[in-house]
Symmetry: C2
Subunit: 349 residues, 2 copies
Amino acid sequence: MPLNPTRSTDDCFAVILAGGEGSRFWPASRPDRPKQLLPLGSSRPLIQDTLERAEALVGPERVRVVAGGSLVGPLCSAAQGLTAERFLVEPQARSTGPALAWAAWEIEKQSPGAYMISLHADHVIHPLDGLVETVDRALAAARRGALVCIGIEPHRPETGYGYVQTGSVTGDRTWAARRFVEKPDLETAESYLAAGGFLWNSGIFVWRAAELLAAMRESTPEIAGAFPLLEAGDTEGYFSAVEPVSVDVGVMERSDSVEVALATFAWDDVGSWAALARTREADAQGNVMVGSGRVVDARRNIIWSEEGEVVLFDVDDLVVVRSGDVTLVTRRDAAPDLKKLVNRLRGDA
Amino acid sequence: MPLNPTRSTDDCFAVILAGGEGSRFWPASRPDRPKQLLPLGSSRPLIQDTLERAEALVGPERVRVVAGGSLVGPLCSAAQGLTAERFLVEPQARSTGPALAWAAWEIEKQSPGAYMISLHADHVIHPLDGLVETVDRALAAARRGALVCIGIEPHRPETGYGYVQTGSVTGDRTWAARRFVEKPDLETAESYLAAGGFLWNSGIFVWRAAELLAAMRESTPEIAGAFPLLEAGDTEGYFSAVEPVSVDVGVMERSDSVEVALATFAWDDVGSWAALARTREADAQGNVMVGSGRVVDARRNIIWSEEGEVVLFDVDDLVVVRSGDVTLVTRRDAAPDLKKLVNRLRGDA
């Protein structure tokens, strides 16, 4: 499927949410080097891959990056071609709802009636032309006034993702969204997979900026209540006044104009070290090695070494990370719970 | 049991075998820093503990240390009170038989009729008064002309040790040695434990120096054939001419004058990382940590960190070693096979 040179995205902005802290990749991820700065999807930082995707969708001029001020420098260093004037600098992190409302506000102000594609800086997506094709279909729905969520056909009973159930057909592989479900338990996830009609909520959205703001005015008082502060140009006041509600909970679960477009690309949110087994290449024994590692009689391990060599002997299904002063050893199964560990260690300290 | 101040060891030498390379403690042990230089039994290097034991047995003047020339400096640095003039410097490593024959030769030359106590630099022994009491009984047998092996009452079906079967009683907790058995399989080791009358061969021996040399002349041509070179003062020639046969195989298994004295001390040969669970203190979850480590939901792990912090999350029964440029992760069960890994890695390189 070639990129379509005739498609017009002159009225389209891409917004990259690049604020996340990513304690699930501790000790490689740290407050000054969150997940999106790490080469988790390819040999380049995730933000570099994401930036190139966004530029392919809308051109470099209409890419916006939302992040805290301390990340502007590190992100520009990590992503070739990214410059400070592309940033919307959040005074504080208040979840995706307030961030996307602010981005929509700024885009609508600059270019009334414009559309926006909301991307996460730390996802893995390929191939690019699948993304372009999917966004084109999503835009078609957005031009009818829909708030569009891009949904991924599930191929395993994943309990770490949210799901969206499809309703009546509204367009080409596009449906009304019947309901959103937050991370289900395994039994539920298995039943979704068996039943069909449930897609993973990728967190990638397409809408007219003004439409998002209108939907929030209707059903998201936690955020829209602070719009007068945006109107007055008081961004700091706005971020202090809003409640930290995600766009999924604050808008997508509440609005009647939500549609879901099926993705024709492979997607991973790289939610934990265990995801590297999907996003990076493994050896014949299923070991993934980033940095210097050697394995003997070892299977399905994930090694991340930023200095020195990690040697695994006769162990299976482990995650071993050597970064800075810290060496972490855990199980692949336990990697999604790493946040618990980080909180426990902070409690210790 | 107090040290006996009236015992006479004026005619006794202690010989510490300090040559081993110890690849089973890789990557912490290296050719220039073998196992005996590491704090595996206490917070001090094994050689320091061993030196103090030897000095308690015979006084500092009559301690001899056998090692290669490259280890003299490191050993003297590691063990307070050890000086270069205590060393018998091996021109090359040729197993314990040739080394002990040479030590016996030098001792007999200096002090005809003297006795020697042969110790390994890298064993853990306590308490000291148990060793003193045991050596006194062994010396009583050696004064009758016996070659005495000190035997340890086994308390687990260890497959990593040699065993010696006791025969008729010859003295106070001392028996004729019926036969020596090299590392048995588990079933055999279990049968020994059930039957009784089998002791672990500690590798600690007591004999009159001249008696060892006589026994070798009688039954160890691989070594005694080169005695004329020692006679001629050609130590290098001697080490080139001998075959690398252990004293167990070359003498103890062949001679009729071997006796075994029961130890009244606890002993460990610290044969692999797994031994640290026995020689160093563990936390309530059975984790042993040397250096900086933290564990959360982790049990029975062994952590050795020379720099930085090792963090274990939700893993059990592992060995994690961070030393120099290398981080090793293996299972406690696999630790005794580490030599295989080191050989494999050398083959790779």
